[in-house]
């Protein structure tokens, strides 16, 4: 008997270790970097890192939900650019009030996401194809709308969202934290969240349990479009201009953060806490290598290597 209870204890310790492995990875990275660069572990630098991470993080929260259902969304970067451009155009060209312009920008991103959702859930097209098409289409819309030129010259109040502070904390970080908490609760505490996991685990069984799975999937893609739009507004505000090519390649950073955070690409398991840690690992790595004066060319290699290593270790631990 003793033997058995002993092995159960060991198992639960390993399970805990396994559960927090991404967090432990981040911690190790932070400790190593703080020894290598004296500037790394200072408040201004850390705030800088979290501000940098906030835009990708917000997108990757939406991406987490999409991937949890077993889907993927390649169009987030383009939806981000389109929403930012629409909000900017509404302020600068149409002379709308800042908040109204933001609302229209958010609606634009949500509408594109809704279209993705309808195409995936109702027309039963593969998410990869639908969102690949949306990636080009939304980028095209953005270039058409902006004539290929940046839009700038905003009201000072608009600057608040990207460059403002709450005490010492940058506003993008505040927005990111609020969204993190809201989505965490959504996923863990509401039926909607439970259904997201269920669909990713087994869509047929979920449907036969009386859940309107199409509705849930459409909502997830729409929500993802909304979150891409939130990032678009923050980025436009921070840069003080809407760039037609903004957010290019962000979809891959978001997917990387989700995967690093331990969410399964086939859906059904994972969550946003892992994702934020995954996003932070990438950001801390970039920041640390910058501080150590490593060329950005090498940083790309390092980023790829870390993603590969993390997923490899994850697979290993799951096999055991």
């Amino acid at each position: 008997m003793n033997n058995i209870s002993g092995s159960i204890k060991d198992k639960s310790f390993l399970e805990i270790l396994n559960k927090f492995k991404t967090g432990i990875g981040l911690l190790v990275l932070v400790i190593v970097l703080s020894f290598m660069s004296p500037y790394f572990l200072t408040i201004p630098n850390l705030l800088n890192v979290v501000r940098q991470v906030s835009i990708i993080a917000v997108i990757s929260f939406g991406m987490t939900m999409v991937i949890l259902t077993g889907g993927i969304d390649l169009s987030v970067g383009s939806m981000l650019a389109f929403s930012g451009a629409v909000a900017a155009g509404m302020m600068v060209n149409s002379g709308l009030n800042v908040f109204l312009a933001i609302l229209i920008g958010l609606a634009a991103g949500t509408a594109l996401g809704l279209f993705n959702g309808l195409a995936v859930a109702k027309a039963k097209l593969p998410a990869f194809i639908v969102t690949l098409a949306m990636m080009t289409v939304a980028r095209g819309f953005t270039l058409i709308y902006t004539n290929g030129r940046p839009i700038s010259g905003f009201d000072e109040t608009f600057r608040f969202f990207g460059a403002g502070y709450l005490g010492r904390i940058p506003i993008p970080v505040v927005i990111m934290f609020i969204l993190l908490i809201v989505i965490y609760i959504l996923l863990k505490k509401t039926p909607f969240g439970r259904y997201i996991y269920a669909i990713g685990g087994n869509e047929t069984a979920t449907k036969l349990s009386g859940i309107n799975t199409d509705k849930i999937k459409i909502a997830v893609y729409a929500l993802n479009g909304f979150l891409a739009a939130v990032s678009g507004i923050i980025l436009t505000s921070r840069l003080n201009s809407a760039q037609p090519m903004a957010g290019e390649g962000y979809e891959l950073d978001a997917i990387a953060a989700v995967v690093l955070g331990g969410t399964s690409l086939s859906g059904g398991s994972g969550g946003v806490i892992g994702t934020i840690i995954g996003a932070l690992i990438i950001a801390v790595l970039n920041n640390g290598l910058n501080l150590l004066n490593v060329s950005s060319f090498y940083q790309l290699v390092a980023k790829g290597a870390v993603i590969l290593l993390a997923v490899f270790l994850d697979r290993k631990s799951q096999q055991q």
């Binding site: 198992k11 047929t204 349990s209």
Partner: protein, 499 residues
């Protein structure tokens, strides 16, 4: 006349963390015999076979194949020694043809190209040897499961396997396909191939097996000749206690009609089905695989978008366009395919039990009330005797019978008035079967109307009070269960009308 032993496993012990999966198990196999390996789920049958073919390392014991002690490191080595396993899930490549699958990786070549002429010739030779009539050029995806299984067996034989392990080979075959498989097994015996036959269906064991080894809780219970035993004795060996009867004595109390189906048709699935269902009765639906039993159930459950005909529920016409509509109205369908359509394997027992009623256990109308959810799960774990360490355990870690009880709990949690059970006891052990039968009695006692779809005729005959028989998407006739027998059902199921 002691025949030559091709396989001997002696005192095999295998321990997993916290569990002794096999405890000094013996198993032996003679040339040209079919030897059944019986036991409830979790008895150690699969573990024993995995130890045999090198997937698991044994802790103790020895394995002797054709006189030589062996220590297989992997399945490849086992294969080279003449051992082949035909799994429940077939492992063929759907978009290659029969010949390409059989000789995959061993094709005769002309330089870099495959010598197709030789390939088809060799394939025909193997298929002829086994008396199997399948076109070597047919793509696997176009074959039915029975034929695919033949191809898998042909592949093993072509690799000179002389020990074949068949794991639940008949679980997804029609009766006709089963007959063909049994003929094939006879021919394999003539080729002096020895077969380990794993099955839950005792009738089959008596039909084709020479000897039986029974395992229980990882222990060797005994080895008997099929000619010297009977079903009751085997069941007793498997469960370790006497089960009075395989089936309980059912008490039906048919009352008011609750469901009436009129001229229900689904393109390519169901033709003009009409029947009625009363509270407190169990209506059996028999028929061969593919006769439309499952499709009829799914049509009532709202799975098919395109359908014609009418469904009356409690006297009113009811439109059911989705499973959600059906469940809202108190109709629940338990799928025959528990892994693909019943469970969400990566979620916990509690998550699976509560999913259909999640919206009724909310705090502030928004958040899942986790205390209520836990209570719900614990109630069913207790009521249905689900063996799980806790309600948080992932469903994929439970045995088949307990998984089935989780799906049934999900169904019961909605308090349904009409329950359609589709093959509710497939692949689960005798003890759990009996518990599910008792549960059906409880349901009809409460006035629930039950539809039971099953391929096992004894089950249909003993548990229902009326029986519908389907053939080729149509209801062929209705039988009174008290007067019907297997023959009467089979007559209708094969398309011969009773009149």
């Amino acid at each position: 006349m002691a025949k030559q032993k091709v396989l001997e496993m002696k005192n095999i012990t295998k321990t997993f963390p916290g569990v002794k999966a096999l405890d000094k198990v013996n198993f032996s196999l003679e040339k040209g015999e079919v030897h059944a390996l019986l036991g409830e789920n979790g008895a150690g049958k699969s573990t024993l076979m995995k130890v045999l073919n090198g997937i698991h390392k044994r802790d103790e014991g020895e394995i002797i194949v054709k006189g030589e002690p062996v220590e297989f490191e992997n399945t490849k080595e086992a294969q080279n020694a003449g051992l082949a396993i035909i799994h429940q899930e077939l492992e063929l490549i759907p978009y290659l043809n029969v010949a390409e699958n059989i000789f995959l990786g061993r094709e005769e070549r002309n330089g870099v190209f495959i010598n197709y002429k030789k390939l088809y010739q060799q394939t025909e030779e193997v298929l002829d040897l086994l008396g199997v009539n399948i076109d070597p050029r047919a793509q696997i995806k176009d074959l039915n499961i029975g034929s695919q299984q033949m191809v898998e067996i042909a592949k093993a034989v072509s690799q000179d396997a002389d020990i074949l392990v068949m794991d639940e080979p008949t679980s997804s075959l029609t009766n006709q396909e089963i007959e063909i498989l049994f003929e094939l097994i006879e021919r394999l015996k003539e080729q002096e191939i020895a077969i380990v036959y794993i099955s839950h269906r005792l009738e089959e064991v008596f039909e084709i097996c020479d000897r039986v080894t029974v395992l229980r809780d990882g222990q060797f219970v005994g080895e008997v000749k099929t000619s010297e035993t009977n079903e009751d004795e085997l069941i007793k060996m498997m469960v370790g206690r006497t089960i009075e009867d395989r089936f309980p004595e059912m008490n039906f109390a048919p009352a008011d009609e609750i469901l009436r189906v009129k001229n229900l048709s689904v393109p390519d699935q169901i033709v003009n089905a009409s029947f009625s269902l009363k509270k407190g009765e169990i209506l059996g639906i028999a028929g061969l695989m593919g006769s439309g039993r499952t499709e009829l159930a799914k049509a009532i459950f709202g799975v098919f978008k395109e359908k014609t005909g009418e469904i009356f529920y409690r006297g009113n016409r009811l439109k059911i366009n989705s499973p959600a509509d059906a469940i809202d109205n108190g109709i629940y369908y338990l799928s025959e395919d528990r892994k693909e359509e019943g469970l969400i394997l990566g979620l916990s027992v509690a998550d699976n039990i509560s999913i259909s009623v999640l919206k009724t256990i909310l705090n502030a109308n928004t958040f899942i009330d986790s205390a209520a959810e836990k209570e719900l799960a614990e109630k069913y774990i207790k009521d249905l005797n689900i063996k799980t360490p806790s309600e948080k355990q992932l469903v994929k870690n439970l045995s088949g019978g307990n998984q089935q009880k989780v799906v049934i709990s999900k169904l019961l949690s909605t308090r349904p008035e009409v329950v359609i059970f589709d093959e509710p006891t497939r692949g689960i052990d005798v003890g759990a079967k009996r518990e599910i039968y008792n549960l059906m009695q409880d349901l009809i006692d409460e006035g629930v109307a039950v539809i039971l779809i099953s391929s096992e005729l004894p089950e249909i005959l003993n548990l229902s009070n009326r029986i519908l028989v389907m053939h080729e998407k149509e209801i062929m006739g209705e039988l009174d269960a008290a007067e019907a027998d297997q023959e009467a059902i089979m007559k209708l199921a094969t398309g011969r009308r009773s009149q």
